[in-house]
């Protein structure tokens, strides 16, 4: 079984003597032990001790486990003086282990021992158009700084130039605010949105964060790429992770605003005279062409595909005016295929043209050309189509029977020949009026707003009616019916009571005031409700009502018998 070795701490500082502008590195080697904490750095007034790196390894030798970790600290002095750096401390299984103390001598004045070379010089790729000119040199003794640079400061109008923003850091930090230039008077295209890496400058490793844009000047003359500023937050001690410097921090936060100067750009205008077929295309390009048909009938169409490839302002590419005698030309939306690298924008733009002959004849397409400004030869170059012949057959097309060009899915151009329908044949037919006069704006407005409003009001009204009015009527009706049924059932009830109950019942049915129904109204109501379906029932109710009404005044003999009361109850149920 492996045995754990004893924990040992060794600390060393290099160099032991520095100037106030310089920094030293302390290396703490922790060996032995299975799990130890990270060393705790001593606090020394006048020195910032920042954890900037860590490596570890485990060896098993003769059944003995030997683990070791190296911690690298950067020591940044704030004042000259002789400093005693206390022991670094680690804990393992509850036991404290301490390193040897160190001494550091910081002399006054002096300068950065060696200026770092341009960070871009370490890029060996000879094809880079990527910025070579460093705007800001690495500030002496700084652990982090920003720089901006451009690939050239005197481009031609519309010529592609590359702008780079770069942050260098040896400490963990995060952006609080980054203000990149507005690039007024330039068209901007983002090439590298966010790139993290590492770079070694004068033997020191820096983490880098980079944003790259392609810029295209839109006007000649003196232009300016505005200042860049970045507000950052960094931590002075107890950082736990050097490699991922945008997260996981501990320690005291500090804030600093970094800036990079504005860059003056002198944009040269393109030489005059410009070719007629020049459409502001600047860079290096090639042109390919293909024709779907070489022979067709008048009214049919052939598709000419032009593919422009190269590097430069290809997104701005457009064809010059393309007129061919005896042809109608319909241009489809161009299709772009763009590759963005840190060296610029390259790719292709494909133009699709439908050529439709309106008269027979031969057409040479080799006459078409497109010029661009070549940034390498510093002159205009002409791109020509290969010699292609298009033969149109048939008779000349009437103006009134031209073709319709329809776009299907943005890819294929379909031509369908249709005739223009003729004029209205006679004046009599042409002068007849339309079905309705023009609706004035006010009426249209009323329809526009009034109908939805009316409908909403209707819904609200119905809801209120359902919620309040209908239940009230129903409950009154039910109450009146219960009262009438009770009177009809009771043998002790008088004819007057029965008549009053009937008036109550009919008044509720007809939604009248309490007991306000007259005998004629009652009969009419029965007739209207039952007359169509059961006229005999309506008549029977009418007769019984008359008998009840008469009996209470004494001129219709006795009141209703119990059998008649039962019949009346059955008949009145149909009214519910």
């Amino acid at each position: 079984m492996p045995v754990l070795a004893q924990v040992k701490l060794e600390a060393s500082v290099s160099p032991a003597v520095i100037t106030a502008d310089e920094e030293a590195v302390i290396t703490v080697k922790v060996s032995g032990g299975q799990s130890t904490s990270d060393p705790v750095a001593p606090r020394v007034a006048g020195l910032s001790i920042i954890l900037t790196g860590r490596s570890s390894q485990i060896n098993i030798f003769n059944s003995q486990v030997q683990s070791s970790s190296d911690y690298e600290y950067t020591v940044v002095p704030s004042d000259p003086g002789e400093y005693n750096i206390g022991a670094f401390t680690v804990y393992s299984s509850g036991v404290e282990y301490r390193s040897n103390p160190l001494k550091l001598s910081v002399k006054a004045g002096g300068s950065y021992s060696s200026t770092p070379s341009s960070p871009f010089n370490s890029s060996p790729n000879p094809n880079y158009r990527y910025p070579q000119q460093q705007q800001d040199e690495a500030p002496a003794g700084e652990n982090f700084w920003i720089s901006t640079s451009v690939s050239q400061t005197n481009p031609k109008l519309h010529e592609e130039m590359i702008f780079s923003f770069k942050l260098f850091t040896r400490v963990g930090l995060e952006f609080e605010d980054l203000k990149l230039p507005a690039f007024k008077d330039f068209r901007k295209e983002e090439l590298v949105p966010e790139k993290k890496g590492k770079q070694t400058i004068n033997g020191k490793t820096f983490s880098t964060y980079e944003i790259i844009y392609a810029l295209y000047p839109l006007k000649p003359g003196a232009l300016t790429i505005e200042e860049t500023s970045a507000k950052v937050k960094y931590y002075v001690q107890d950082r736990q992770n050097y490699n991922s410097f945008f997260f996981n921090f501990s320690g005291k936060p500090r804030h600093k605003t970094l800036s990079a100067k504005a860059i003056p750009i002198q944009v040269e205008d393109l030489p005059q005279p410009r070719p007629d077929d020049f459409t502001d295309l600047v860079g290096r390009f090639t042109l390919e062409a293909s024709l779907s048909d070489h022979e067709l009938n008048v009214g049919d169409s052939a598709t000419l595909t032009l593919t422009l490839r190269g590097q430069g302002n290809i997104r701005d590419a457009r064809l010059p005016d393309f007129k061919l005698s005896g042809y109608k030309i319909y241009e489809d939306k161009p299709v772009e295929q763009i590759d963005k690298t840190k060296n610029g924008v390259r790719g292709s733009k494909t133009f699709t043209l439908a050529l439709m002959p309106t008269e027979p004849g031969d057409l040479k397409l080799g006459d078409f050309s497109l010029s661009y400004y070549d940034v390498e030869s510093q002159s205009y170059s002409k791109l020509k189509l290969p010699e292609m012949m298009l033969v149109a057959k048939g008779s000349p097309m009437d103006q009134g029977s031209q073709a319709v060009l329809a776009q299907a899915g943005g890819e294929k151009t379909v031509v369908t020949l249709k005739d223009l329908a003729p004029l209205v044949p006679s004046a009599k037919e042409a002068f007849r009026g339309p079905p309705l006069p023009v609706v004035p704006e006010m009426v249209a407005q009323m329809v526009f707003w009034g109908l939805p409003l009316a409908f909403v009001l209707w819904i609200l009204g119905s809801a209120l009616w359902i919620a309040y009015v209908r239940p009230t009527r129903r409950s009154q009706s039910r109450k009146a019916w219960r009262g009438l049924a009770r009177v009809l059932k009771s043998s002790a009830s008088s004819d007057r009571e029965l008549w009053e109950a009937l008036k109550e019942f009919f008044a509720a049915q007809m939604d009248l005031g309490k007991g306000a129904a007259t005998s004629s109204e009652m009969r009419r109501y029965c007739q209207s409700r039952l007359g169509d379906k059961w006229p005999e029932k309506a008549q029977e109710i009418g007769g019984l009502l008359e008998k009840v009404e008469g009996s209470q005044y004494g001129f219709a003999g006795e009141g209703l018998k119990s059998a008649e009361k039962e019949t009346l109850k059955k008949l009145l149920k149909d009214l519910l």
């Binding site: 241009e331 939306k333 103006q399 009134g400 031209q402 319709v404 060009l405 329809a406 776009q407 249709k418 223009l420 329908a421 003729p422 004029l423 209205v424 006679s426 004046a427 009599k428 037919e429 042409a430 002068f431 007849r432 009026g433 339309p434 079905p435 309705l436 006069p437 023009v438 609706v439 004035p440 704006e441 009426v443 249209a444 329809v447 526009f448 109908l451 939805p452 009316a454 409908f455 209707w458 119905s462 009616w465 359902i466 209908r470 049915q509 007809m510 939604d511 109501y525 209207s528 409700r529």
Partner: protein, 246 residues
């Protein structure tokens, strides 16, 4: 039922003869002359002559003025939505539009849920709605007068149908509000962010594209500006004489 329109021109000329003259000019490819006569006939016949709009559309089409042709076809379409010749020529003219403008949401709703509405003119649609409205409100009133509940299954079904129809009419109204629709009349139209002459264009439109006119500014007879909008939401100002109102 269509009734013959009693046309009397201001100068007393016989409109039938003028019509024949314009027709002859048209078939002899003398389009400017045909345009002149048809336009005068349209002006004197007033807005009610949809067939003359159609003839003017044909004339402009043959003159290569696609914007104007579309303007008059669209005007005619307000009155004659079921005319097959008009539909054919309108399709033909629309096929020549360069700009591919996205369909608005209300157009999408109309095309999807009210596909039949293309066969009704705006005015027929409104008339149908008026009839339906009267029925819709009358039925509950009659039921109430007959001492019956004003709410019944019939009324509810009618309400749902009414809501569907009213919403369709709302969409159709939005699509056809007078004075709001316009057609680009010039081959290329630079649309500006404001009505200042020196303002840079913000986007470009081409002849025949249909736009919505949402505002206007007048600075004298020759300095009228219109604010236009596309279904995608882009807005800008153009000179009034570059847009043909439908």
């Amino acid at each position: 039922m269509l009734m013959p329109y009693p046309l009397v021109l201001a100068d007393g000329a016989d409109p039938d003869l003028l019509y024949e003259e314009a027709k002859q000019a048209y078939y002899n490819h003398e389009y400017p002359k045909a345009e002149d006569i048809f336009f005068n006939l349209t002006r004197d016949a007033g807005h009610q002559s949809a067939f003359l709009y159609y003839n003017l559309g044909n004339t402009y089409f043959n003159m290569g003025k696609i914007g104007r042709a579309l303007q008059y076809y669209e005007k005619a379409m307000l009155y004659l939505p079921r005319d097959p010749d008009l539909r054919q020529n309108l399709d033909l003219a629309r096929g020549k539009i360069v700009d591919q403008v996205t369909e608005s949401f209300s157009d999408y709703l109309l095309r999807t849920f009210y596909f039949w509405s293309a066969w009704l003119s705006f005015y027929e649609f409104q008339l149908a709605l008026v009839v339906l409205t009267i029925l819709f409100w009358l039925l509950p009133v009659v039921k109430r007068l007959r001492h019956k509940s004003p709410l019944s299954q019939t009324v509810l079904v009618l309400a749902v149908f009414y809501a569907y129809f009213a919403f369709g009419c709302y969409l159709k109204t939005e699509q056809n509000r007078p004075q709001e629709q316009g057609i680009v009349l010039v081959p290329e139209l630079e649309v500006k962010a404001s009505y200042l002459e020196k303002e840079k264009p913000i986007f470009l439109l081409h002849e025949g594209t249909k736009v919505r006119v949402i505002d206007e500014q007048n600075f004298g007879d020759k300095k009228q500006w219109l604010k236009i909008a596309l279904p995608e939401g882009q807005k800008g100002w153009v000179k009034a004489n570059t847009i043909g109102r439908i």
